[in-house]
Symmetry: none
Subunit: 235 residues, 2 copies
């Protein structure tokens, strides 16, 4: 939603054996302007990489034939140098992934929010020089958010945000002046399997306001019956 697709779309290969996950990720990435292929096994993944030469892999570590690390190893062995984002469960396999962020790679633990995944993808593409966008900074009025450094400042004064607060603010800043519905915010900022009380959103808006909007002109506005928006006070 944020941006129009560039003249040349970036090709991404999504590898996961759960069709639901593949669907959700594919939809979101297509919508973000990526060209998406998918595969369900390690073997398919390697074949698809050879055939389509994607510029980035989103790769589940848990695959029916051999695991994601093995896929990465084989690609490296074949001198295919493509950045990878690993999807991992929040369990023991998480440890194995730790060393991976050393290369161009990164990982995201399931369940994740789509915002999270897209942000990682953008970061990696930027680092790899593939993306069109050079900056990792979002700016609205005197509010700044650095996606890479995970830093936020208002009027130059740094602000500490928790992970959820950060994601929420980032999504708002990606869509300034547009009213985002509760559904959109919940879908993008919370994990894809979040099934809880929708009122969390209000709680976090409240938190954000207390940290970000205490001073001067408030930027976070409620649009009753619709949702929230980031904008300068009017008139």
């Amino acid at each position: 939603m944020s941006s129009a697709p560039p003249s040349e779309q970036v090709r991404v290969l999504v590898v996961d054996d759960e069709p639901n996950i593949v669907d959700v990720i594919s939809m979101a990435l297509r919508f973000e302007g990526f060209e998406v292929e998918s595969a369900g096994t390690g073997a398919d993944a390697i074949a698809a990489v050879a055939a389509r030469r994607p510029q980035l892999l989103v790769l589940d570590v848990m695959l029916p034939d051999f695991d994601g690390f093995e896929v990465a190893r084989r690609l490296a062995g074949a001198h295919v140098d493509v950045p990878i984002i690993f999807l991992t469960a929040r369990d023991s396999t998480e440890d194995k992934v730790h060393g991976l962020t050393l290369g161009g790679d990164d990982y995201v633990t399931k369940p994740f929010s789509l915002e999270e995944l897209v942000a990682r993808i953008r970061t990696i593409l930027r680092r790899a020089g593939i993306s069109e966008e050079a900056s990792s900074k979002l700016v609205f009025a005197d509010l700044e958010l650095d996606e890479d450094a995970h830093e936020v400042a208002r009027g130059g004064r740094p602000i500490d945000l928790t992970a959820t607060e950060f994601r929420l603010l980032r999504y708002l800043m990606l869509n300034p002046r547009r009213v985002l519905t509760r559904a959109q915010l919940l879908d993008h900022v919370w994990n894809y399997d979040f099934g809880g009380d929708a009122r969390v959103l209000e709680t976090y808006i409240s938190y954000l306001r207390k940290k970000v909007d205490l001073e001067e002109p408030p930027l976070i506005h409620t649009v009753r019956g619709v949702g929230y928006t980031l904008r300068l006070p009017r008139g």
Copy 2:
């Protein structure tokens, strides 16, 4: 109504097993300049998509054979990439819809107002680049309404409207210079199952006038015995 149909009409497929709902939606959309097909079951829907290649689906989640999500899944499986607006009841199924705003998709909970539905359709077509209109702004004389930002201004001065006032004004602005009957206004702006006193309409016209039409040339005009219209004073 709003605008002359583009050289090529946008094709919409409406899927619902309640003939009443299909009729109401179809009529409204045809009136808005869409080319409308309909189907009553999931199987029919898939066949119709294959045969007619609609550019958008309005899809009830509750269908006699298999549900709307399944239809979506099968279409995705067949690599048919068509945006979908799901119709859902305000109950447990509402939860399942969670995640749908991720892709190009969206949902509307029953009972909805036709204005609501049409607004969502326009937004999605705009986002998907299918619509002829790139802008989310409606303009009539010095009155402006931004659908994305949910902002209204008269002569540059911002105006605060409630949700209902906003829908009513939007419907008027979508049909400038045309006289809209009370029935049309009630049907489009209020939920289709609204059973209350038709005099609400007058109340809201009154509200709107106080907010929008206080200054200079009044734009909202009563056509006695018929309805209301948005136009410049004649003479």
